[in-house]
Amino acid sequence: MLQNLWNGLVQGGIYAIVALGYTMVYGILLLINFAHGEVLMIGAYTGVATLAGCAGTGAMEAVGFMPCLAMAIIGATCVSAAYGFAIERAVYRPLRGAPSLSPLIGAIGVSMVLQNYVMRTQGASPIYAPMSHPAYVASLGASNWDIGPVSIAPLDLVVLVVCVALMAGLWMFVQRTRTGTAMRATSQDRVMAGLVGIDVNRVISVTFVIGSALAAVAGVLLALFNTQAKYDMGFTSGMKAFTAAVLGGIGNVPGAMLGGVLLGVAEAVGIQLLGAEYKEVYSFVILLAVLIVRPKGILGERVAEKV
């Protein structure tokens, strides 16, 4: 039981950083960015390919696993951020101000294109991270630590540390910096933000770049967790992350973090109690339950707005 909760917590950390991307975009554009999961998948592919390539060229033997992982994450971040930026420029920006169904359908279209594009070019079978490489075994492949009934894998710790660091970093960025405050202002009133001199298009681009970069990190971690990257991995994780965002209160940054962790734990409890066959369904049931009981989510709408 405790073991399951721990696993759920680690998984939840990953959901949380993906959920941040959904929530930030929704906060500003009121758009569910369906392509977000695909951006994660692209990050995962880039990351796993980098890792595998490092293993193949012997770089991993020379410098060890962790520097290669860092490189994979940086590479994935850059590629995904570029994709996020390009998607917004090419599809969402022309649809700004159109009736709300149009951007949504456009987003589905983008998601379909990316998924099938990767499937066609990289193949329908997964690509594998070099988890049997001696350098990996020497660093993260070491045996688990047992603390009481819970067995903690080194990879779990890496995932948690990265997730916590990213969330703290994002929090500081949004709360303390000029661009972060401009992002919050834009999400509250886009026209007014323009009237005080904020370049709204730039803020939106920054939002997409940051959200996509976070998704890329999550994608690499997820690929390590599952030892592989597959073209449809973005679909399921995207769905779950969106549930997490709704659970926490969509548009709300701390809500997304909380929602992600809660969802991971809830899923673990579900597996413990009801079995693993319905793993994919729990998040959907949770989503429905949230919508029935508290549609604005746990942290949604904290301040009453005066008109």
Binding site: A86, V91, A98, G106, V118, R120, T121, Q122, H133, L288
Partner: protein, 420 residues
């Protein structure tokens, strides 16, 4: 013009650079990095050609718009309508021709293709109620199709129910499922519905996959050989309406049975489509239909006019599900087997693409959309087998491009979006 060419070239270069790491770069843990250049170049070429076509389309549309707008304006000003009788005649002749095709020696492959197209057209026209009329995006419509197909299959195969009871039961089951999903989701902003239905579609597929004992799991419905009772008609009327091909005892040459089944299912699908079109058409003209259009344009205003928005949305949603459920019967009978992979997310998106391509709110559009998206790839695959594999890539691109260039679809545009 110059500006456009520059933009297109920038987009092409961007596509090439974006494609490089994702499509061209391969990492292998024994051989290291390799770069396969072809996909990146192909991607860039596709963007270049596709973009050029888009620009041409936009240009043509801009020149054409003035003409169309002028015509629409005079039409509505004079209150002119196309003569009703002529329209009815055209429609009648069209339906009769399609109905007569199998008798005129249509090859089996064509019968099958047309039949599938009619099933998809039925679903697309039904989906038009939620997407086109009410403005609600449904991303799990395949699930209602699946509920209909499996309800029908289980009732006939396992319970031995008569076709004419199991057939409406399939529709009702789908509509009720719509009620269960719609109740929580429809109280909220429209885009939640998209995600909820998406999740629902996946959940249904997983349930079918996991409940092996009942549904047959990843394989087909258990006992997928269509039993006699499956097709046993109800009395004289049923005998006349549904003439079973392989009824007990009668013997046929090998191959003829399939041909007969094809033909009967073809007619059944045609009748279903015609009835569906008639019902949706009447719905659009009815009070509920006007309420739906009001809802699509402005939900708050509709609420203020005294429309119970949740109820109206629910009606639309259930009506949509009903048609998908009824349409689910056809593949069950025709193929004699169904499996969960027929009802995946791609299929749901395919339905949306049909509606979007045809035009939101246009019944004709949905039928044309279904025909284009289902028959065209199948026909092209005769010469280029790889077409089928790239289908969904193309559908996605088409949806996104359609939204940017012509959001009202091929046949939309009767109701333009109003002032900002």
């Amino acid at each position: 013009m110059r500006d456009r060419i520059v933009r297109l070239l920038v987009a092409t270069l961007a596509a090439f650079l974006l494609a490089l790491p994702v499509a061209s770069l391969r990492g292998n843990s024994s051989t290291g990095f390799t770069i396969v250049w072809t996909p990146a170049f192909v991607t860039a070429a596709m963007v270049l050609v596709g973009g050029a076509i888009l620009f041409a389309a936009v240009e043509a549309q801009r020149r054409g718009t003035a003409f169309w707008d002028a015509r629409a304006a005079t039409d509505s000003a004079v209150g002119r309508r196309r003569p009703c009788a002529a329209q009815a005649w055209t429609l009648g002749v069209l339906v009769a021709t399609v109905a007569a095709l199998p008798l005129l020696g249509l090859p089996g492959a064509w019968t099958k293709l047309l039949l599938e197209t009619m099933v998809f057209a039925t679903i697309a026209v039904g989906l038009q109620i939620t997407i086109g009329m009410a403005g609600l995006l449904v991303l799990g419509h395949a699930a209602f199709w699946a509920v209909g197909a499996y309800t029908f299959g289980l009732l006939t195969v396992h319970q031995g129910w008569n076709f004419w009871i199991a057939f409406p039961a399939a529709g009702v089951a789908a509509a009720l499922t719509g009620l269960v999903i719609g109740l929580p989701a429809l109280r909220l902003r429209g885009d939640y519905l998209a995600v909820v239905t998406l999740g629902f579609g996946e959940a249904v597929r997983w349930v079918i996959k996991n409940e092996q004992d009942v549904t047959g799991g990843d394989a087909n419905l258990p006992g997928n050989i269509v039993p006699g009772s499956f097709r046993k008609p109800m009395g004289a009327l049923g005998e006349w309406l549904w003439q079973p091909a392989a009824v007990d005892g009668r013997t046929f040459e090998p191959g003829t049975v399939q041909a007969l089944i094809d033909r009967e299912c073809y007619w059944f699908a045609l009748v279903l489509l015609v009835v569906c079109v008639a019902c949706v058409h009447l719905l659009a003209k009815s009070r509920v239909g006007r309420a739906l259009f009001a809802l699509r344009e402005d939900e708050t205003a509709a609420k203020c006019m005294g429309i119970d928005t949740t109820r109206v949305k629910l009606v639309a949603f259930m009506a949509s599900a009903l048609w998908a459920g009824l349409a689910g019967v056809v593949p069950a009978v025709h193929r004699g087997s169904i499996n969960p992979e027929m009802f995946d997310f791609n299929t749901s998106v395919l339905f949306v693409a049909m509606v979007v391509l045809g035009g939101l709110g246009s019944i004709t559009g949905s039928i044309v959309g279904a025909a284009l998206l289902w028959m065209l790839p199948a026909l092209l695959a005769n010469w280029f087998p790889e077409v089928q594999e790239y289908r969904y890539l193309f559908f996605g691109a088409l949806m996104a491009a359609m939204m940017v260039v012509r959001p009202e679809g091929l046949f939309g545009g009767a109701r333009r979006k109003g002032a900002a």
